[in-house]
């Protein structure tokens, strides 16, 4: 589906109006930000939707419209990035690791346009690469899963089988073993193509297969596919763990917690920095220490989290932040120990 929200022309005018009023030391510049989502779609209630929330926040605060494009398939990435750049959109946020190849090409063609890529690294002066330490956040929810599980069997459903998703799985497994060395992890990947991000039916079936084998807590790191996993858990009276965005509200009482990955901030900060005139290229690695990955606790899941669980996960968090526990990163050597 090609939902191209047209860029607003009024903004240039608006920017000149606001600038004198703001009266700040640094003049705010009018920008025309844009987002190219990944194939999971803007409404995946997870990864892409997080980015979209960041854009909405920016829009609410500044009144600046953000142009968006939801590609149908991978071949549209390059086309979408280039079209935005040609139309003078700047900065442009590319969501997801799979856009890296396209971006490397497009960013070279438009050296004066600023790009931000989430979940991958592109080494060009006009590209800001934002990657997250998902293994640290996954470690925390792994601790919670191990403590919440009665059977000692915990499930993981990944989206596409790529090192990035293995990183989630590996961190999760370490968290489980840290809290309960005897617990067992059953892991499934949905597929080996990008279609694996958008197959809730298969996600549900994978989760049910794990429940049949004794799993009672399942962690989904699979974009839209995860919606099916969470649904299956709610249908079967099991616990699930959401990912990227806070998914606790999807099935209150069934979603144990969510591994938060603040992709919303990645988009928001890029736009904000461009507006303030202090946007910088380069790579930033965000983790637990700066609050960019975390676990979610709100009114929807507070009944599921006992004081002991909270104490234990706080301990783990402290240990990781202080360096006492080092969570192994799958992508550092492409193996989970």
């Amino acid at each position: 589906m090609k939902s191209l929200i047209p860029p607003l022309v009024v903004l240039a005018a608006l920017g000149t109006l606001i600038a004198p009023l703001a009266g700040s030391a640094r003049a705010q510049t009018a920008i025309k930000p844009a987002i190219v989502y990944s194939t999971g779609g803007k409404f995946d209630k997870s990864f892409n939707e997080g980015v979209s929330q960041g854009a909405q926040k920016f829009n609410k605060e500044t009144g600046i419209a953000v142009a968006e494009f939801e590609p149908n398939n991978e071949t549209q990435f390059e086309q979408a990035q280039r079209r935005f750049a040609q139309r003078g959109q700047d900065p442009i946020v590319a969501v997801g690791f799979s856009q890296a190849v396209a971006l490397e090409k497009v960013a070279k063609e438009f050296p004066n346009t600023r790009f931000t890529i989430i979940d991958s690294v592109v080494n060009l002066p006009n590209v800001q690469s934002t990657v997250f330490k998902e293994h640290e956040g996954s470690f925390l929810v792994g601790v919670l899963a191990a403590l919440a599980s009665k059977t000692g069997k915990i499930g993981f459903v990944g989206g596409m089988d790529i090192p990035l998703i293995r990183r989630f799985q590996c961190g999760f497994e370490q968290g489980i073993k840290w809290a309960n060395p005897k617990a067992e992890l059953l892991a499934n990947m949905t597929g080996t193509t990008p279609a694996a991000w958008n197959d809730p039916g298969r996600g549900a079936e994978l989760a049910k297969g794990q429940f049949d084998r004794g799993v009672d807590v399942v962690y989904a790191a699979a974009g839209s596919t995860g919606i099916g996993v969470l649904q299956a858990a709610a249908d079967s009276g099991k616990l699930s763990i959401g990912v990227d965005s806070n998914q606790n509200h999807l099935h209150p009482g069934s979603v144990l917690t969510s591994m938060l990955k603040r992709v919303d901030l990645a988009a928001y900060n890029s736009f904000k920095a461009a507006q303030m005139g202090n946007w910088k290229g380069g790579t930033q690695v965000l983790g637990l220490k700066d609050g960019s990955v975390d676990w979610a606790l709100d009114k929807d899941n507070e009944k599921l989290i006992t004081p002991e669980m909270k104490a234990k996960v706080d301990e783990a968090k402290g240990d990781i932040e202080s360096g006492k526990v080092v969570v192994h990163d799958y992508m550092s050597d492409n193996s989970c120990k």
Partner: protein, 308 residues
Amino acid sequence: MSIDDVASLILLTLAATLRVATPLVLAAMGGLFSEKSGIIDVGLEGKMLMAAFFAAATAAVTDSAWLGLLAGIVAAEALALLHGFACITWRGNQVVSGVAINILAAGLTVVLGTAWFNRGGQTPALEGAGRLRPLFLPGAGDNILVYVALLSVPLTWWIIERTRFGLRLRAVGEMPLAVDTAGISVPWLRYRAVLLCGLFSGLAGAYLSIAENAEFSRDMTAGQGFIALAAIIFGKWRPFPAFGACLLFGLLDEVAIRLQGVRVPGVGEVPVQLIQALPYLLTVFLLAGLIGRAVAPKAAGVAYEKER
């Protein structure tokens, strides 16, 4: 693992097989009617997708799974009529019409979904009365459509093999001229077959969105219509063997899910990619060796033109 564990694991795998095979069975039975009458139906996939969308959309708005089911059937019937109009009335190419229906459904569902619900083509998640619930075994997901699918197989066999309508249906798929000579309307027979196909593919589509899952998402049929088509060919255009083929596909899928990450003695952990290719590999082997020659109805794909 004790004997009890193994027994329950086998039982659960069988239940899961049935769950996965249900939409295949329904679609295959629908396709069988159509193909038996001489109308090739490549558009099973599109009909299922359209039905899945309208079922989920209606159920979300009205909060009634039954109205959703009805809407799904109506949507699939509309496409079935379109197919009939193109192929029977206007004697168009049946494969082209089927492909067109698939493309139409893939595009239209997302466009309508975006316009109505503004969620990138998804429909809102269904709760409570908006979904068809399991009847007896909550864990196994045995909603009413699973039983409908099981019953549809003997019913299809009985209609095709034992009724007058079935006899004429087979005749019109083999030699429409003979049927016409006997004074029976070829188009009317074929239209009825196509409408039966619409009914079953409507049920199959609705199963996906309001029974197995709780919302519509784009391309959610994921090729199941084509797998149903393959099952018809595997079953040599006969209901019970086609049913068997659907179960086999379902079982392979389930086994693939359950084998992931499992250590096989002597081999170690089997790579995910191999496990996921397993159903397709087996399909090729089966097609190449085991099932023998599959002969389609003689007049399948040929539009009937009355001689003047």
